[in-house]
Symmetry: C2
Subunit: 327 residues, 2 copies
């Protein structure tokens, strides 16, 4: 049995807990939290919830720690710290800062002889590895990534910070005509506005100026100004009934040419349709934890990414089973 | 530069030759043929075409041999033979016989200290590795593979063997309603007939009994009897103008559940839309040849599959470039 620990207990961690229960070769050993452990109720029976300071007492008793913190301030500190004592997996998703995060984590993991797998999930993660496969196979081509339809938590938070807004949910929606052009191999040059639209459901305070809120959203730099945004005001009850899930998804499409005269168009698309973003991300992290154990057994150390995982190491199946049933 | 050799010179080998020209870290060293070399004209200037018996004289001068023979009788003999002298890549695609082929090739490659990558391309190959990723991430779910719309050369050949048939082209077509059900996460049980239809374009001899030909096609066991098949008679000229390409493609879809009560549906789809089946397969083989060189540098030997390739090894990009631009 692969023994796993979880650091943190938000949406992603709960997804990790559920995913561990779906993998018969894994078990949850402990959850570590910065909150008062007595205030945290987890789903798995007979598993301790402990202060994060106690994690080190589990050295040698846990195979891999899954770090379920946020990318802004949490993981940059937490991942290098735990990589000194454990094999770890994180979902660091700030694309621009990945090289710096890699360097910091690699220094810790290489010195201590651990495997630290960073930036896994679906983007970065599965989308990244599909961009890699597609670009290696079609060196002359162009990549497109479309997100949605799905809830962007960062954009929802941005709307919630506007005065007069009680609650908000922002959906990122890919533009179907743009996707169709890409799928047809037309290799269009697309502006930000041409790729995605944004749809905001907003619960406003009773006396709020909804016109002003709508204006504040649509002109917000970085988040909305470069997009065609639709704002819909709804009741708190409609928000609860119709928008409580966290669906997401998207497509990575590469269109390229082959042939001596580059006369042939070839298109590769990888598409996710996710009922729950955190549960799916968690399922990727848990499969990657299995690969971390296998990589450690091979003597690999240091910071790794999904690019370094031989796919067979993700699977519970033996080589014989993979050859017979999956190849 | 990675020095590559090609054994055979049919459609797949020509695709390999074109793909090598698209990869700036590779060059073609020689083509080996069983035909009279003077009768074979290749596309790349200043590259020798030699009898296959001369291949051994290139030991140490070629990094990887790409074996472009057929799976029925050619590769089972050729791949183990060359794996004794070279790192090799093949596209062995007889799924049921992969374990036996693996064992034979592994015996040769392990003993001689070479890397022999078998059964790569898109199915087996990219479809296989996507089945593996998806099943590792969604352990509770169901896989579906749809092929087409595309030309099946085996089925086209089967029709051509019917008396009175001058030429034939068979298209495999996935049933859109079945794909939609799978994409919606309904996990349907689908019969062979419910998944694909078959469409045959046939050029008949002038005096042929077209009713009898149509009947012979539709009732042919293994190839057509289990499918809804449409037969369309056309002229030799229409065949040449409208059906001379070899397009193909398809989708691997896995739909699974996550969550403590398995309450969430998640769907992963990998979709190929290929203007030329052999050129695309060739592009996969060539990217895999790069990975073979990298694996050999790491000291790996024996028979390998795409399941064993760390994706980074497929790419011309450095780790730094991958982290900055692709993750």
């Amino acid at each position: 049995m692969i023994k796993l620990g979880i650091v943190g207990y938000g949406n992603l961690a709960r997804g990790v807990e559920c995913a561990i229960a779906q993998n018969p070769d894994m078990e949850l050993s402990a959850v570590f939290t910065r909150r008062d452990p007595s205030s945290v109720r987890i789903l798995t029976p007979n598993v301790p919830v402990l202060p994060v300071e106690d994690a080190e007492t589990f050295c040698g008793k846990i195979d891999v720690l899954l770090l379920c913190g946020g990318s802004a301030t949490d993981l940059p500190a937490v991942t290098p710290k735990f990589a000194k004592k454990f094999h770890v997996v994180d979902s660091f998703d700030n694309h621009a800062n990945i090289p710096a995060h890699f360097a910091a984590v690699n220094a810790a993991a290489a010195e201590s002889g651990h495997v630290a797998l960073i930036s896994t999930g679906w983007d970065p993660g599965l989308f990244s590895v599909n961009r890699l496969y597609a670009s290696a196979i079609l060196p002359e081509g162009k990549d497109y990534t479309f997100w949605g339809k799905g809830v962007s938590q960062g954009h929802s938070d941005a709307v919630r910070r506007i005065p007069g807004v009680l609650d908000a949910r922002q959906y990122t929606i890919p533009v179907p005509e743009a996707m169709d052009k890409v799928r047809r191999g037309e290799n269009p040059d697309l502006t930000t506005r041409q790729k995605h639209t944004r749809l905001c459901y907003v619960v406003a305070e009773p006396e709020a100026d909804t016109k002003a809120i709508e204006q504040a959203i649509k002109t917000m730099p970085n988040y909305f100004a470069d997009y065609d945004t639709t704002v819909v005001f709804i009741t708190q009850e409609e928000m609860k009934n119709d928008h409580s899930g966290l669906p997401h998804g998207g497509s990575v499409i590469r269109s390229g040419v082959t042939g001596w005269d580059k006369e042939t168009t070839q298109t590769i698309e990888y598409k996710l349709n996710l009922g729950s973003n955190p549960q799916f991300t968690a399922s990727v992290l848990v499969a990657c934890a299995r690969a971390v154990v296998r990589m450690a057994e091979k003597g690999i150390t240091g910071c790794q990414t999904i690019f370094d995982i031989a796919p067979a190491d993700l699977s519970i199946l033996s080589r014989e089973e993979l050859l017979s049933h999956m190849l």
